[in-house]
Symmetry: C2
Subunit: 591 residues, 2 copies
C-alpha cells in the first residue's frame, strides 16, 4: 500500500488526528497494516467533519424556522469549530495541536473557488449593472483607502515599542489588504431574510464580492515587495505597484470574460446542448480552467473566476439546455454553501487549536479600532462623493434628485463591513518573524466582526429605519422555489409564513417575462425554455447607434442609471452575436 497519505481531504489534518484520539478507544486487537489504519483514522475525521457541517446546516434551518435572526449559521459554524478545537486543546495528546493550520492551498484551490463562482453566477445582473458606478467606486477606491488607512494605523502604532512588534510598511499594508476584504456570506443571508431594499442589497453584495478579489490582488502585489529589500517602498515602487495591481486586475478580468464569451460562442455554434450531461460537465470544467489558467500566468484566478461566472450567466446561460442551466446553478450553489460552512468551522477550530499564533491583546484592539476607522473613512467620504456626482449630473440636465445613498444606507454600508475567511486565508500567506502575531490578529478580528457586526445587523436595520420586507419586482427565475401545498396549489416561498425569500440576484429575465410566468403557471414551460433576454424594454424607446451608446458612457447615460449605456450596447450589439437566435429561425446556431 502506498506509504504516503497525501490524499485530498486528508489535509484536514486536525480531523485526522482527532480520529486517532477516537481510535484509542476502539478495538486494539486489530492488526491492520499502516495505510489501512490511516484510512480508518481519516474516515472518522471526515465523518466528524460531515457531522459538524450537518449540525451547522440543520441548526441554521431550525433558527430560520423559529425566526431567530441574531444568530446566523456562520456564527454557529465558528462555534462548532471552536467546540471541537476545545476538545482537541484539552485532550492529553499535545502533538495534535501542532499539526493544525489553516491550509492556504487547500482554501484557495478547493474552498474559495466555488463561493466566488457561485457569487458571479448568482449575481442579479440587472441590478448590478444599474449600480455599477457605486459598486466600482466602493470596490476600488474603498478597498484601497481601507487598506492604506489600516496599514498606516498599524504601522504607526508599532513605532511605539509597547508590544515588541516592529512591522515593516509592506507588512502593515499586507495586513491592511487582508482586513479590507469584506465577507458577503453572513450579511447577505440576513439581508435575504429581511428582504432589504434591492439597491442597498446590490451595492453591498457587489462591493463585497469585488473587494475580495481586489484585496487578494492588493495583498499579492504588496507581497511582491516583501522580499525585495526589507519591505521599504519608494514612491517609484508605489506607482509600479499600482500599475501592477491594475494590470493583474484587468488582465484577470479579461481572461474571465474571454473564457465566458468563447463558451457562449461555442455553445451557440455546436449542438452540445443536445447532450446535457456532457454540457454540464464542460461548463464546470471551463469555469475552473479559467481559474487555473489565470493562476498559471500569474494573474488572479479569483478575479477571472468571478468575471467568468458573470459572463457565463450573462451570455452562455441562454445558449445552454434548460437542464444544464439548472444543473450548473444548483451545483455551484451547493458547493458554495458547503464551502462556506466548512470555512467557518475551520476558522473556529483554528482559533483554538493552532499553536503558531501569538496573541497581542493591545495590537488586536488597535486593529479593531483600525478597521472601524478604515471602513469609516472609506464609506462616508466616498458616499458623499457619489451623492455629489449624481446630483451634479442631474443638475446639468436641469433635474433635482434625492441622495443616491442616504445616511441610513451609508451607516448600513459601514456596518456591513464584517471581515471574512478570505482575510484569514490571505493572512496564512504572511511570512517573517511577525507572522504569528499578525495571523492571530487577523483571525481574532475576523471572528469578532462576524459575531458582533453579523449578530447585530438585524437590529441595525431596524434602528436605521431601512425599508425591509420589500416585495421584489424581480423574482427568482427558478421555478422550483415553489412548494406544494396540501391542495396541490403552489405558492412562491416568499409568501410563506417562514419569511424565506428566493435569492434576489438570480435572474436576468426582463420584468414582463417573469411576471407572466409567475401568474400563468401552466404556460411556464414555454416561457421557461424560451427564457432569454427580450428586446430592450421600451424605456429607451428606440435603438441607438453604438457611437451614441459610447458617448453616453461619458455623459452618464440618458438617466440616473449608470449602466444604461452598457445595457443598450449589450442588447443591440453583443447579445445578438453571442446568443442562439431562436426567434428568427436563422443563423448557424439554430437548432
Amino acid at each position: 500500500m502506498p506509504e504516503e497519505l497525501n490524499a485530498p481531504w486528508l489535509t484536514v489534518s486536525c480531523f485526522a488526528l482527532l480520529g486517532r484520539a477516537a481510535d484509542s478507544e476502539s478495538d486494539p486487537d486489530e492488526d491492520a497494516p499502516e495505510a489501512g489504519t490511516k484510512e480508518f483514522f481519516s474516515s472518522w475525521a471526515l465523518f466528524i467533519l460531515i457531522m459538524l457541517l450537518m449540525f451547522a446546516l440543520f441548526t441554521s434551518y431550525i433558527l430560520q424556522q423559529k425566526k431567530i435572526q441574531a444568530v446566523h449559521e456562520t456564527v454557529l459554524s465558528i462555534f462548532a469549530g471552536m467546540f471541537v478545537g476545545l476538545i482537541i486543546r484539552l485532550s492529553p495528546e499535545s502533538p495534535i495541536q501542532d499539526s493544525v493550520t489553516f491550509d492556504y492551498q487547500f482554501f484557495f484551490n478547493l474552498l474559495l473557488p466555488p463561493i466566488i463562482l457561485a457569487s458571479g453566477y448568482e449575481l442579479h445582473q440587472a441590478n448590478f449593472f444599474r449600480n455599477i458606478g457605486t459598486i466600482l467606486t466602493f470596490a476600488f477606491a474603498g478597498t484601497f483607502i481601507s487598506a492604506i488607512v489600516l496599514g498606516l494605523v498599524l504601522f504607526v502604532w508599532t513605532r511605539i515599542p509597547l508590544d515588541g512588534l516592529n512591522i515593516s510598511f509592506v507588512e502593515a499594508i499586507s495586513v491592511g489588504a487582508t482586513l479590507s476584504a469584506t465577507d458577503p456570506v453572513t450579511i447577505l443571508a440576513i439581508f435575504n431574510l429581511y428582504k432589504v431594499e434591492p439597491k442597498l442589497y446590490t451595492v453591498i453584495f457587489g462591493e463585497s464580492i469585488l473587494n475580495d478579489a481586489i484585496a487578494i490582488v492588493l495583498f499579492e502585489t504588496a507581497q511582491k515587495y516583501a522580499d525585495s529589500d526589507a519591505g521599504s517602498l519608494t514612491v517609484l515602487n508605489l506607482f509600479e505597484a499600482i500599475g501592477l495591481f491594475l494590470l493583474v486586475f484587468f488582465g484577470s478580468m479579461l481572461v474571465g470574460m474571454i473564457v465566458g464569451i468563447m463558451t457562449a460562442l461555442g455553445l451557440k455554434h455546436t449542438h452540445v446542448r443536445r447532450v446535457p450531461k456532457i454540457e454540464s460537465c464542460l461548463i464546470v470544467l471551463i469555469a475552473y480552467a479559467s481559474y487555473f489558467f489565470s493562476n498559471g500566468v500569474r494573474l488572479s484566478g479569483i478575479v477571472s473566476l468571478l468575471f467568468c461566472g458573470i459572463t457565463l450567466k450573462h451570455y452562455a446561460y441562454y445558449n445552454m439546455s434548460r437542464r444544464t442551466q439548472l444543473t450548473t446553478k444548483y451545483l455551484f450553489q451547493v458547493m458554495a454553501q458547503l464551502s462556506e460552512n466548512f470555512i467557518f468551522i475551520y476558522l473556529g477550530l483554528d482559533l483554538l487549536v493552532q499553536r503558531n499564533l501569538q496573541f497581542k491583546p493591545l495590537f488586536i484592539m488597535v486593529a479593531v479600532f483600525g478597521i472601524c476607522l478604515a471602513r469609516y473613512l472609506a464609506v462616508f467620504p466616498l458616499s458623499k462623493a457619489i451623492n455629489w456626482f449624481i446630483r451634479y449630473r442631474a443638475r446639468r440636465r436641469g433635474m433635482e434628485v434625492a441622495d443616491e445613498l442616504p445616511f441610513a444606507y451609508q451607516a448600513m454600508l459601514f456596518w456591513a463591513g464584517l471581515r471574512g475567511a478570505v482575510g484569514v486565508a490571505l493572512a496564512a500567506g504572511l511570512t517573517g518573524v511577525n507572522a504569528p502575531a499578525l495571523r492571530a490578529t487577523v483571525l481574532v478580528v475576523v471572528v469578532l466582526t462576524v459575531i458582533i457586526f453579523g449578530g447585530t445587523t438585524a437590529r441595525m436595520l431596524e434602528i436605521l429605519g431601512i425599508r425591509t420586507g420589500v416585495v421584489e419586482e424581480l423574482e427568482s427565475d427558478d421555478e422550483f422555489d415553489i412548494e406544494v401545498t396540501n391542495g396541490g396549489t403552489y405558492y412562491k416561498r416568499s409568501d410563506t409564513a417562514l419569511g424565506y425569500t428566493p435569492r434576489r440576484m438570480d435572474s436576468t429575465i426582463p420584468l414582463d417575462g417573469v411576471q407572466r410566468r409567475g401568474l400563468d403557471r401552466n404556460d411556464s414551460y414555454s416561457s421557461g425554455n424560451n427564457r432569454r433576454p427580450s428586446p430592450p424594454p421600451s424605456s429607451s424607446g428606440k435603438a441607438r447607434s453604438a457611437s451614441q451608446a459610447i458617448r453616453d458612457l461619458f455623459s452618464g447615460g440618458s438617466s440616473g442609471d449608470h449602466g444604461a449605456w452598457f445595457r443598450q450596447l449589450d442588447e443591440d450589439y453583443i447579445k445578438p452575436r453571442l446568443l442562439l437566435d431562436q426567434s428568427n429561425h436563422k443563423g448557424p446556431g439554430a437548432v
Copy 2:
C-alpha cells in the same frame, strides 16, 4: 507560507510535475517564494488535467454526433492519459516518473464515491427489483466463482517456475477478486445509445454495480489473511472468511439502508424542504456520512453508499422539495461523469509512467485467458441454473415459460464482463515482493478488456441479434430531457436524429403518470410536483396481508417476477410510513 504542499488535488502529483517541466520554459527571473512557486506548478498541472477532461468529453460528444460507436469516451480518456504519459516518459527529467502512482486513498475517498452514489441513485428501481433474483445470483455467486477460478488459474500457473513469480494463494485470490469487478461505465453507455432491451440492460447494470462492492469486500477479506502466516488458508479460515465477507456485506448494506430510511423519516417530520438549499446540502452530506461511518467501523463504505443511494431514491426522494430532487440528481450525475473520465485518464497515464510496475508478458496472457475462463464459468452455469429454476417454479404452477436468459443474453453477459478502475484501485493495495508484477498485470488486463470488449460490444449486439432500439415503456422522470426546437415545440430527446436516449434507470414513477406527463406537457407542473408513487398498480388487484407477502417471498411470489413480494410489502406497509402523506392531508409531516 506553509512549507508542505499537501493540498487536495495536488496528489495528482504527476500533473504537478508536468507543470514543473512546463515551468522551465517560463520566466526564470521570477523569485517568488517556494509555496507560491508550487502553487504555480499545480495550477498548470490542474489546467492540463482539466483540458484533458474537456478533450475527452468534447470528443465524446463529437463521436455521438457522428454516430461512431466503436470508440467510446472511456477509451478516449485512456488514450489521452497515455499520450500525456508518453510525453512525461520521453521528457529528459526522469525523477518525474518515480512519483506517479495510482493513489489508492485518492481514488477510494474522492473518485469512486460519486460514481457509486450516482449508480444507486439512478438505478431503475422497478426493473431492478423485478430482476433482483438474477442480479443477486450473478453478483454473489458469479463474483465468487470468478474470483476463485481466476485465483486458481493464476496460483496453478505460478507453480510452474517460468516467470520467476511465486505467488501465495491469498495473493492469487486477491488478484482474482480484483479482476472480478466488472465495469459499469463503458458498457452501459453503449447500451444506452443502442436502447438495448431493458431486462438485459438491468441485469448487466445491476450485476456490475453490485459486483464492484462484492469484489472490494472479497479483496479486503482476503487481505486480512495476507499478513497472518504467509498467506496459507485452512478450511477453517475459509469458512471464517466467508462469514466475515457476509457480515461485512450485509452489515454495510444495513448501514446504508438505515441511513436512507432515517433520512426519509427526517424529511417527513421536519420542514427542511422549505429551505431547499440547506436540504440539498444535507442530502449530499448524509450520503457521504454513511460512507465514512461504514469505513470507520471497518465495514465497506462503498456497499453502504450504494444502498444508501438506492434507499434515498426509493423513499427519501419523494419527501424532498422538487428543487432538491433535481439538485441531488444532477449533482451526483455530474460528479460521477467527471470522476469516471478522470479515472480513465489516470489509468492511461499510470500505464505508461509508473515505474513501480513489472510487466510479465506470459503471466499477463495467462491472466487474460483466466478472466475469460472465469467469466465463462460464472455466466453460463449460473444462467442455466436460473433458467432451470424459473422453469421449475413455473411448472409447479402448471405453466410453461421461455428461457429467462436465452443464449444471446448469456453471450452478451459474458461479453459485458470488461474490467474497470475499481480493480486497478484495489490492485494498488497489494503488498509484498510480487506486488509490482501483479499490479502491472491488473492494469494491462483492465485496459485491454476496456479497449477490446468495449470496442466490440456494439458489433456483438448485432451478431447476437439482440433487440435494440427498444422504445422504453418507462421514460425518464426528467422533464428537462427535452429540447426547444425552432418553432417552440418540444420533443423528447429520444426522438431526435441523434439517437440519444435518456438514461433508463431514472424513474420510479408508475407508468400512467409518466405517459400522461409525456403527452400533456402543459400539465407537467402538477404531475411533476406531485410526483410520488401512486397506489399499487391494479395488477395485484387487492391488498394482501404482510404475512402473505412474506410467504410469497419463499414461494416465489404470485408471478414469474421475483420482486413482487417486496413491492407489495413496500407499497402497502413501508411507503405509507416513510413518505409524506399528501393525498390525505393528515399526518405530522403534512405541510
